[in-house]
């Protein structure tokens, strides 16, 4: 469960992009490593190496941004996956990072460095 003395979300910024990808994937709801991999690959259009994914998952888990859930949603009943979900801290960090990116983009747009399309 979440640490009552949760650290400041801002201390995690900027997030490594793999971590951001994972948090975005988990923001959609509870998922396992393979599900996250699928989501990220579909969104980015390129492969995410499994070992990299699990390194990042381990890191996020250690830092308390995500936690493992004991529940096992049905996925054919054959599941031996570990399921992860965003912790409150994780949600806060994700919001903070997205806010940071948003501000970064605003900054760039104001200087004509980025167009509306991204």
């Amino acid at each position: 469960m979440d640490d009552p003395q949760a650290p400041d979300p801002a201390s995690f910024l900027p997030l490594p992009h793999t971590s951001l990808d994972i948090l975005l994937a988990l923001a959609e709801g509870e998922s396992h490593g393979f599900g996250v991999k699928r989501f990220v690959e579909a969104r980015n259009g390129r492969k995410l190496r499994a070992a990299t994914l699990y390194d990042a998952l381990a890191r996020l888990h250690r830092d308390g941004l995500i936690r493992e859930t004991p529940s096992r949603p049905e996925d054919g009943g054959t599941s031996r996956w570990r399921y992860y979900v965003l912790s409150t801290l994780g949600e806060a960090v994700l919001r903070a990072e997205l806010g940071r990116l948003h501000r970064l983009l605003e900054f760039a747009r104001n200087r004509g460095l980025a167009t509306e399309g991204g």
Binding site: H32, F34, R49, A50, A51, T52, Y54, D55, A58, R59
Partner: protein
């Protein structure tokens, strides 16, 4: 699956904590993505697998170098791996440089392909027979239980009472089941057809741990006599039937077959279940399972094979020992004879006596591969030496030895893979050839072929071999002082002399050993071919015919049918003789204990029995050695024995006139031996009988289905249509099955020795050719290398003959050493082969000697051509080259 195991092994490369935490999920991801890739295309699957390998290697290495994954570091997703990148660059360079020398490249790859192709084909055979797991849950605990005949220690089938008593007395098995197979005429409602049928005790499916695809398996009630007959049908038959009914894809879950009534040998059976697809026991051909309830229960019928599943913690050896403790007996007339029951693991039973042959093939193929590799090494070495100047220059300019080595290794890999591709094509050809030679001897012939594992083996072996060759030659080629290469001096590569001599010696020795072994098998096969087969199969045809037991149940009904059938067939123009017998000349279905009048009470004396009609010796050309053959009117009074049984009954004397009794036949009567016939030779691995007896069909109280045999003039198969017509004329409901010339049966019965002879002969010839090309190459190179020396010698007055002699003398030493070593190794090798395959005929020393002599002469011829060239060197040119 092998790929799966490999992947799991690869995962072990990860550091322990990482693996413990995520290994299982990584594997699951790999499997899931692999399934998708396979569904997409073969190429995608291959790409998935290779990229997985590389990524795993790379990631694992990275995690060892940087054990704390939580520390953010090098962003790991950065496009192409640098490792892949340099491999790609070196590979591209290697391909370009190989492409510039297509002839050389093809000779090396072709040489490797010969060795690799043979290896891949044999690996595939060995894998199919020995390594691939049997398709049953916990197959290791399945054991085949066999009864051993007291004297010959050969396995015999069990009768129903015997099976019952073994089953009830055994301990240590979860259950003991029995089965037999035979043909049956089956009608599913679309007319009768012949189907291969298993009759099995109710527990067999449970013992195999196989669930029915639809419906239920047999229950214990089905085993009882007098139950309403039920049947299980194969998945194949079910699919056929569904296809017939719906003229398309069978509707999912359409199980309308259950409860249907089908006719099996004129008896109505209810279908209660469908077997799962691909069930490979008792064999893959079975279309129908019937319960044991309706099978013969008499003490005299030995027809059941037995299968059991070991209880946890019991070994086959312990089980065999437990069998001994309950003292099993073979119900055998008034006295039950003690018997040994032996349990062997199912796989052992399938492949047991095939193992020596397969080891022989493996050894032979390894020798061929070794010789091919030595040839390739020499070719690569020559080329590397030719490039010494280039290599030396690069080294002098500061190129490290490492990159040079690496490049040669990559080049070796490319050559290996090229050879592997050619070799795989060759392996396909070899396997196709094996199939046409008749793979009946294989435990699962239907599975013979190159599967994923064999291809993975081919890939791995080619790559490993290529890398090894590349590395070996690279080390040799770059070992010398670069300054030597820079001078471009010739004749100073003497360092390679000794290794090249060793090359020749090893190659020749290998070729001699392989050739001698092949010749041993050839002479053995020749002796089989020339041996009297005891009968004359020419022009005789066997008709596959099943008399429905429902309509022709009694001996009288059957007898009447066969009598009429023979009358019809004999009247056919072109048929010179016809007979019916309880089995064709290569097999027996009946076995009886024998009691000899005035002989000792001997429970172990038994013989195979063939029931015959009049005309049997004329039809099959069976040689009568002494006395006369039995006739129908002899009835219960006379029998004829084969030479082996005659020797056993009357050692040293004549068996004619002796009186014997067949056990288990009521009433027991004394029968006189009226004649002795030749033994009919059997060559198959599973041909275990020796004693044989011929009894008139009317000489036993039980009915037995008979096989019609016809002797014809000219091409027997040309009579096929009219034969079928006549058979239908007797009873339109009894169609003839296949017509098989006895010649074909004889040919098939020799398939095993023929196959091993062909294979070994082929490998021997291959080894010979490879060794000769190798020898030629080495000598040609030696001569070219010393061209200057020959020029100088000529300039100093040496004559041509002297130079040819000198070269030959030089070669003779090496050839002599190689052949000598080969001969020295031949004797232990032959002894080993003989030990493994005991039924080989003796070797023919003259044949062996001639072959070795020829080999030596060919070897000298291979040297003579370069020697001539040496003598042809123009002194001026040679000196000018300086």
């Amino acid at each position: 699956m092998m790929i799966d195991a490999l992947t799991r092994a690869l995962l072990r490369l990860y550091p322990e904590p990482f693996r413990r935490r995520f290994g299982r999920e990584l594997l699951q991801i790999w499997r899931a993505e692999g399934d998708e890739a396979r569904a997409a295309s073969r190429l995608a699957a291959a790409r998935h697998w290779t990229s997985w390998c590389f990524v795993t290697l790379y990631d694992a290495l990275l995690r060892h170098l940087r054990p704390d994954p939580s520390r953010p570091s090098v962003p790991a997703d950065r496009g192409a791996l640098f490792t892949l990148d340099w491999i790609r660059r070196d590979a591209a360079f290697a391909l370009r440089s190989l492409g510039r020398r297509p002839v050389w490249t093809l000779s090396v790859a072709g040489t490797l392909a010969l060795g690799l192709g043979a290896s891949i084909a044999i690996f595939s055979v060995v894998h199919d027979s020995l390594l691939r797991p049997l398709p049953f849950d916990d197959a290791a605990s399945l054991v085949v239980v066999e009864a051993l005949a007291p004297e010959s220690r050969r396995s015999i089938l069990a009768s129903y009472p015997a099976y019952r008593s073994y089953r009830d007395a055994q301990e240590g098995l979860e259950g003991l089941d029995a089965w037999t197979t035979q043909h049956a005429t089956v009608d599913l409602g679309d007319g009768p057809s012949r189907r291969w049928t298993a009759t099995a005790s109710s527990g067999l499916l449970r013992t195999l741990r196989v669930d029915p695809f639809l419906g239920r398996g047999f229950s214990a009630e089905d085993d009882r006599v007098g139950q309403a007959p039920v049947a299980l049908i194969s998945h194949r038959l079910w699919a056929e039937e569904m296809g017939r009914l719906s003229k398309g894809r069978g509707g999912a879950g359409d199980d309308g077959i259950l409860g249907r009534t089908i006719t099996v040998d004129e008896v109505q059976h209810t279908v209660v279940g469908v077997l799962p697809p691909g069930l490979a026991y008792p064999d893959g051909e079975v279309d129908l399972w019937l319960p044991l309830g309706g099978a013969p229960r008499g003490r005299g019928f030995y027809y059941l094979s037995m299968l059991g599943r070991l209880e946890d913690g019991v070994t086959p050896q312990q089980l065999t020992a437990r069998f001994a403790s309950f003292g099993p007996t073979m119900p055998n007339g008034p006295v039950d004879s003690p018997i040994d029951l032996v349990a062997t693991p199912m796989r052992e039973n399938l492949v047991g006596d095939l193992r020596p042959q397969l080891s022989l093939f493996l050894a032979a193929v390894a020798t061929v591969l070794l010789i091919a590799c030595l040839n390739a090494t020499h070719l690569i070495l020559i080329r590397a030496l030719g490039r010494r100047r280039e290599l030396a220059l690069r080294a002098a300019l500061g190129a490290g030895r490492g990159p040079l080595l690496r490049q040669l290794v990559v080049e070796g890999c490319a050559l290996g893979l090229l050879g592997g591709i050619l070799g795989t094509a060759l392996a396909f050809g070899i396997l196709e050839g094996l199939r046409s030679l008749g793979p009946e001897w294989m435990p699962r012939p239907e599975e013979l072929g190159l599967d994923g594992t064999a291809l993975a083996f081919a890939f791995g072996l080619s790559l490993a071999l290529g890398a090894l060759l590349g590395a070996a030659t690279a080390v040799r080629a770059t070992a010398d002082d670069p300054s030597l290469g820079m001078t471009g001096a010739r004749g100073e590569v003497g360092g390679g002399q000794r290794s090249r001599a060793a090359l020749i010696v090893v190659q020749l020795a290998g070729a001699v050993v392989l050739l001698s072994t092949a010749l041993l098998l050839v002479s053995s096969y020749r002796s089989i071919e020339s041996r009297e087969s005891g009968f004359d199969p020419g022009g005789t045809l066997m008709v596959d015919l099943d008399l429905p037991a429902g309509r022709y149940g009694t001996r009288q009904e059957q007898g009447a049918y066969y009598a009429q059938l023979l009358e019809e067939l004999r009247s056919l123009p072109g048929v010179t003789a016809a007979a019916v017998a309880s089995s064709h000349p290569f097999t027996f279905y009946i076995n009886h204990g024998i009691e000899l009048d005035g002989g000792q009470d001997d429970n172990t004396l038994a013989s195979r029995v063939r029931l015959v009609s009049d005309g049997y010796p004329e039809t099959t050309g069976l040689t009568v050695l002494e006395g006369r053959f039995v006739e129908e009117r002899d009835g219960w009074n006379a029998v004829v024995v084969n030479a082996t049984l005659a020797r056993r009954l009357a050692p040293g004397g004549s068996a004619v006139g002796l009186r014997i009794k067949l056990r288990n036949i009521e009433p027991e009567t004394w029968r006189t031996v009226v004649g002795v016939v030749a033994d009919v030779e059997h060559y198959g691995r599973r041909a275990h009988w020796q004693h044989a007896m011929y009894v008139p069909a009317q000489g036993v109280p039980y009915p037995h289905p008979m096989t019609p045999l016809l002797r014809t003039e000219g091409d027997p198969l040309a009579l096929g249509p009219s034969i079928r017509e006549r058979i239908l004329a007797v009873d339109p409901r009894v169609p003839a099955g296949t017509l098989v010339p006895l010649d074909d049966l004889l040919w098939r019965s020799k398939s095993e020795p023929r196959l091993r002879t062909t294979l070994l002969g082929g490998f021997g010839a291959l080894a010979l050719v490879l060794a000769m090309t190798g020898l030629y190459g080495v000598m040609a190179f030696w001569v070219a290398d010393r061209g200057k020396e020959f020029g100088v010698r000529q300039a100093l007055g040496a004559n041509r003959a002297g130079i040819v002699g000198m070269v030959l003398l030089h070669a003779l030493g090496r050839v002599g050493l190689g052949v000598g070593l080969g001969l020295a190794l031949t004797w232990p090798a032959l002894a080993l082969v003989r030990h493994q395959i005991p039924d080989l005929a003796p070797a023919e020393p003259t044949l062996q000697g001639t072959a070795v002599l020829l080999l030596a002469l060919t070897a000298l011829l291979a040297c003579w051509i370069p020697a001539r060239r040496a003598a042809g060197v123009d002194p001026i040119t040679a000196l000018r080259e300086e």
